[in-house]
């Protein structure tokens, strides 16, 4: 994405926000200038602490999801037999809204970071699994045959063909699920915790009625999502350079 275009869009959105705040003229929608002051004042203190907690949870969730789902997807994509066995389960479980399992996870896994990470992993796992599986299954048989003829067995095919072929699918899955991950994180942080941006936004909005602080939390959460989105973009340009040259 063009940097200047992004900067321009950011400024335009801030202007809209400013205009809306002026028109509405209520405490519940403070202008971005006020929020910015709060944001930078709170960032080294309270806000930074909550941001770090949320960042940790979402980063670990993403890494665990990729580490579990990518190999599973590769195996299913490679083996027709295993895929036949498991695809009905994936088909049934994929559309189940996993976020409703949060209370169950809280009861089972306690109140620490674990249930929050688990719920995000549960959601990302299926999205990555399905995309990686389909990508691995779509590899042309001719490619596999000619690499086998050069001497590749199962292990080398995995390393030199299946894994690099699935990288774009892993990154696409991440790009699509970053938004969901942050949204679920917000919901997860409303329960049984006093740490995290979800808690920070909720407590400032509904208990302290400190709207500038609440919006500072919203901005921090957006930056968290946006930062992950940018990271995926950056990884894609670095690792999948072949897709960008024509």
């Amino acid at each position: 994405m063009n940097r200047r275009a992004l900067l321009f869009a950011t400024l335009a959105l801030l202007l809209c926000w400013e205009a809306a705040a002026l028109l509405l003229n209520k405490d519940v929608l403070p202008p971005p200038t006020v929020v910015a002051v709060t944001f930078f004042r709170e960032l080294p203190g309270e806000l930074g602490k909550h941001f770090a907690a949320s960042f940790y949870r979402v980063a670990v969730s993403v890494m665990v999801s990729v580490a579990l789902a990518a190999p599973a997807g590769l195996v299913l994509g490679q083996s027709k037999r295993l895929n036949r066995l498991f695809s009905p389960f994936v088909y049934l479980l994929y559309p189940v809204p996993k976020v409703v399992l949060l209370p169950v996870l809280l009861l089972l896994l306690g109140i620490g970071d674990l249930p929050k990470i688990a719920i995000i992993v549960l959601i990302l796992f299926f999205q990555i699994l399905v995309l990686v599986r389909d990508q691995a299954a779509a590899i042309r048989p001719e490619l596999i045959q000619s690499v086998r003829s050069l001497g590749a067995g199962r292990r080398a095919l995995f390393t030199y063909v299946y894994l690099p072929a699935s990288l774009p699918a892993i990154l696409t899955a991440l790009r699509q699920s970053v938004g969901t991950a942050v949204a679920v994180l917000y919901v997860a942080e409303l329960f049984a915790t006093r740490l995290g941006l979800g808690y920070y936004i909720y407590i400032n909005g509904s208990t302290y009625f400190d709207y500038p602080a609440m919006y500072a939390g919203v901005v921090a959460m957006s930056i968290l999502g946006l930062g992950m989105y940018f990271t995926v973009d950056w990884l894609e340009r670095r690792l999948c350079r072949w897709q960008y040259v024509i």
Binding site: L143, Q145, S149, G151, A156, Y160, L167
Partner: protein, 260 residues
């Protein structure tokens, strides 16, 4: 070199493609396997390559029964089989990387192969096949002819003694196809490579195959072999203009379609 003994293969029960098929290829020969789509010629090549297992009988290469890909056999397919995410140079190095991955175990890579000895071959073949200017490009940026030359370079880097090709030039335009056919004849003569090229094109079989195996209607038991002594002789391009070539094409055409 290649000895096919009593080979049987069927896609479905009761529909044999090969049944009790015998065929011999001697070292250094250039064979074309000609036949219509679905006659089993690709299947035959895959069995020679060790990528498919015969249901009966066996394929032997240099006395060794083929049950899996043999490291000294090179295979070139119509759709190139290049890794889209690797540059031309990395694609050409792929065989060496795979052999290093396993080490010289005799299964995936020849015993007593030393990768260091093969490294100069990468630049040699990139240059010989005119690929140095595009060595850092990805397959998606290349023409069909360049892609197929990359696949050929990748195979030759490993110094094979047998080259198997499945419709290698079928998706190329006519001038590119003809220049690659000439290149193949040159390379084969230089390296004294035993070569089997599968094709559905009568002109290609007549131009390249010193000996031609014609596969007609399955099930195939007896090999139908046509000798074509003029193919591949110096000057290599000239054969296409000769009456023997025209006669060979007519003869093959009549064999493939007796009604015509």
């Amino acid at each position: 070199m290649i000895s096919v003994r009593d080979l049987s293969f069927a896609y479905a029960p009761g529909q044999p493609v090969f049944s009790g098929f015998n065929w011999t290829v001697n070292a250094g020969e250039l064979w074309a396997v000609l036949g219509p789509s679905g006659c089993g010629k690709t299947t035959l090549l895959y069995m020679l390559a060790g990528l498919r297992t015969p249901q009966g009988g066996q394929v032997q290469i240099n006395g060794q029964v083929i049950t899996r890909p043999r490291p000294q056999t090179g295979l070139i397919l119509q759709d190139y089989g290049l890794l889209p995410w690797a540059t031309v140079r990395a694609n050409v190095q792929l065989g060496l990387r795979l052999h290093r991955f396993y080490g010289p175990d005799g299964r995936h890579a020849p015993r007593n192969e030393r990768i260091a000895d093969l490294l100069p071959a990468v630049d040699h073949w990139l240059e010989r096949l005119g690929l140095l200017p595009v060595a850092d490009k990805f397959p998606g940026q290349l023409s069909g002819g360049q892609r197929q030359r990359t696949a050929i370079a990748r195979t030759l880097v490993l110094g094979p003694d047998l080259l198997l090709m499945d419709e290698p030039f079928a998706s190329l335009d006519a001038p590119t196809r003809e220049s690659l056919q000439l290149l193949l004849l040159d390379l084969r003569a230089e390296q004294n490579l035993t070569t089997v090229i599968v094709t559905h094109a009568i002109e290609e079989a007549a131009f390249l195959g010193r000996r031609i195996l014609v596969l007609t209607q399955p099930p195939i038991s007896e090999p139908l072999i046509i000798d074509n002594p003029g193919a591949g002789r110096e000057p290599r391009g000239a054969y296409r203009g000769r009456p023997e070539y025209q006669q060979m094409c007519s003869r093959l055409r009549a064999l493939l379609d007796p009604a015509a």
